[in-house]
């Protein structure tokens, strides 16, 4: 099992007396830093104590104490457990200096905290709303902000059939729709401030210049939100000089489904099916991270057989994700459909196992706190063994043989979209993106969870830092996953699949926990705060797809517009997780 988050060998309070104090609230851990000294202390955390990877930045609203809190989670890329530090501010004027000068990876996450909680980060290079649009009324994750279809503070709600009469949410809203408007709002006099204007002015200023007596100018290209190659409803605004990208801004929020607000109304178990819909390719990995976080809060052990089943499911998920990624990558390069169809053929076989075990192809909702929902039948195990031993290794090799030396693929990927190891760490990249930049950081090894410490496997990494390295890392990772699967299928013990009794309502002590797994796309973390009620007080998802895009501009500037699609594809994003 993982070491509890509170175990930390660093004594920050002794290093910064009077500035840093230990977080002494019951169930909490980490350090509270004076807001005005944040940059100084954060630099020391990075340079003196070696916590070089800022994993997650998020805010929590405590209206009862009149405080807003920003929570930072940092790790060492050499491995080890978590380092938590926090900043507290008065709730009516939450201002803190931005950490972007120390960790560039904080950029998008701080924008999200501004958007959803209204925390102002001074010296942030581009503090705009990120998930909602510019001009939206209010900051939704504040505890006193209520959505238009607000019914009650916490689920389970009272009967929707009072006295045998059915009611719908629309009937309770004065506008009969999922909208609300501020007092005195007049839609006819509403001056339409273009929300796009702030976006366009945020692009790097570009001076047109004379080239050989010809005056050139830049072109703005909007890609998405409806574009066949943006993997969903992602949008990028690209500034071009001829064909070269000179500046780029990702625009997101087109699939912002309010997981975190809904998650704070749900009970702990009700959130499990919602996690499925984050990264909808990998519902099992999403379940995994959430279950780990809540189990940490509950302080319970997982049944051993369930732990093995979890690993089997997570690794099968990783294989199908990487297979589809390779197929889609080739789609993005112009080899329409054929490789993707090869990948989908194998994916269907893996989904069959999910369907046989969890009951659903994609949205598995399979993990429970302390175990899994249903046992894996002998039949399903036999099918998995067949797949893992006889079919998938050959298919991975086939993909490898078809693609790896393909001239088009090599010439399009080699040397493109370069990211150095320093930049990758500084921009909080995780997963295959980080490993392809020469940092062998895999949470399964660096901070082992579940039963991953019992398996033999290599952490795949490549030093090149280009797109070809990202491709090779993923192909090799499939082989390593197969290796883990072989061992897990051999070692899986008999026994119960749940450590306690199955229950709808779990008892959870007040406190906080951060559970993380190595999802196929990177570090998937869940930050959960409980106040002892049956619902999480704060439910935050650290989404790898989202944070891996921090470096998108860095990757693209200087490349051609035609390669943008491939660079974006190589990051491997899924919009459900990106926008949450």
């Amino acid at each position: 099992m993982t070491t509890p988050a509170s175990v930390s060998t660093v004594d920050l309070a002794a290093r910064f007396p009077g500035i840093v104090s230990a977080d002494s609230r019951p169930g909490y851990s980490g350090w509270i830093i004076n807001a005005d000294k944040l940059i100084e202390v954060a630099t020391a955390i990075r340079d003196e104590f070696g916590y070089d990877l800022l994993s997650s930045v998020t805010g929590v609203d405590y209206p009862a104490d009149g405080k807003m809190e920003v929570v930072y989670h940092a790790f060492k890329t050499t491995g080890g457990s978590i380092f938590v530090f926090k900043v507290q501010m008065p709730r009516d004027d939450p201002v803190v200096s931005s950490l972007v000068p120390v960790w560039k990876g904080a950029e998008l996450q701080e924008r999200e905290a501004w958007d959803l909680l209204g925390i102002k980060f001074t010296n942030h290079p581009d503090l705009r709303r990120i998930l909602m649009w510019e001009g939206f009324e209010g900051h939704p994750l504040r505890k006193d902000w209520k959505e238009p279809f607000y019914e009650e503070e916490l689920k389970p709600f009272k009967s929707r059939w009072p006295d045998g009469k059915h009611t719908i949410a629309e009937a309770k809203n004065p506008f009969r729709d999922n909208v609300q408007f501020p007092v005195g709002f007049d839609p006819e006099k509403y001056t339409f401030e273009d929300p796009e204007q702030a976006l366009y002015t945020s692009l790097r200023k570009y001076q047109s210049e004379d080239k050989d007596g010809i005056k050139t100018d830049h072109i703005l290209v909007n890609m998405g939100p409806q574009h066949p190659s943006t993997h969903g409803v992602f949008r990028a605004v690209v500034m071009l000089d001829g064909e070269d990208i000179v500046s780029l801004k990702p625009v997101m929020g087109y699939l912002h489904r309010n997981h975190e607000k809904i998650g704070e109304r749900n009970t702990f178990l009700q959130n499990m099916p919602y996690t499925d819909r984050l990264d909808y390719f990998n519902s099992m990995s999403n379940n995994f991270g959430y279950a780990l976080a809540v189990e940490k809060l509950m302080g319970i052990q997982v049944a051993e057989r369930a732990d093995y089943i979890r690993v089997i499911m997570a690794e099968l998920t990783r294989i199908q994700n990487h297979l589809i990624w390779a197929g889609m990558m080739l789609n993005d390069l112009g080899a329409m459909y054929t490789p993707a169809l090869y990948a989908f053929e194998e994916r269907e076989l893996i989904l069959d196992i999910f369907e046989a075990t969890a009951g659903s192809r994609m949205m598995c909702n399979y993990f429970r706190f302390g175990g899994v929902a249903r046992d894996m039948t002998e039949d399903a195990l036999r099918k998995t063994r067949e797949l893992v031993h006889d079919r998938l290794p050959g298919k991975v090799d086939e993909m490898d043989r078809l693609l790896t030396d393909n001239e088009v693929l090599v010439s399009r990927l080699k040397g493109m979209g370069y990211l150095s190891a320093e930049d990758a760490i500084n921009t909080s990249m995780t997963g295959p993106m980080l490993r392809a930049s020469g940092v062998p950081y895999d949470i399964r090894r660096a901070d082992p969870y579940s039963v991953y410490d019992r398996f033999e496997f290599d952490v795949v990494s490549r030093p090149e830092g280009d797109m070809y390295a990202r491709y090779l890392v993923r192909i090799e990772e499939m082989r390593q996953s197969l290796k883990i699967l072989e061992q897990a299928l051999k070692q899986i013990p008999a026994g119960p699949i749940l450590s306690g009794k199955p229950q709808y309502q779990v008892k959870i002590q007040p406190g906080e926990a951060y559970g993380r797994v190595e999802a196929p796309k990177g570090e998937l973390g869940y930050y959960i705060v409980s106040n002892g009620k049956p619902n999480p007080y704060r439910y935050h998802v650290r989404a790898p797809s989202f944070i891996n895009l921090t470096s998108l501009e860095m990757l693209c500037v200087g490349e051609k517009i035609a390669d943008f699609v491939a660079i974006l594809g190589a990051v491997d994003i899924v919009l459900g997780e990106l926008d949450r």
Partner: protein, 215 residues
Amino acid sequence: MDNNELNLPGYEIPDDMKNTVAITSLDRLYNWGRRSSVWPLMFGLACCAIEMIAAQASRYDLARFGMEVMRPTPRQADLMIVSGTVTKKMVPAIVRLYNQMPEPKYVMAMGACASSGGPFKEGYNVVAGIDKFLPVDIYVPGCPPTPQALMNGLIMLQKKIDKESISKVRWYRKGADTVEVPVPILGPDLIDVRRIPDIKSKVAELSNPPAQREA
């Protein structure tokens, strides 16, 4: 080519002329042509889009229905499969895409989210069903619907097309039957342009509650 479907029932065609001659009505010919080549818009919103891709792939193979030609541009598409959660931020783009599609055009709400908001209905950025803005022809239930369910929906759409008549479909009718939907505006919240007077009166009512007016 089997033209049994094309032939009007009741007209016996000699055996040697079967599959070369058909006696049929213009409506039937027109519908037969259209139902066999419905080109969907290549447009994925969320989780359902993955099942839509799976339906295109080898195991389910939508090509059997003449529907494999996914068009990334709305100008060449007949069917909009709204495959996922419709958010307020996205809905102006969806309405624009719909307006750009040439008639005849159909809309399928795939999955719980597109039909009603689904599990995310209570979210502040979620539109509770695309039918608040676009006329939906087929609803496919499921979260996400399996490829089988999607195919069933498409077969239902074919049946619907079979029942149409050139003289009655709304896009060939004379008069001001506009199929263009006004694009909603992103203000303090999503503003449905068609409901502006309604919103105005409701806001005024809420801003000055009756109790205050009496005092």
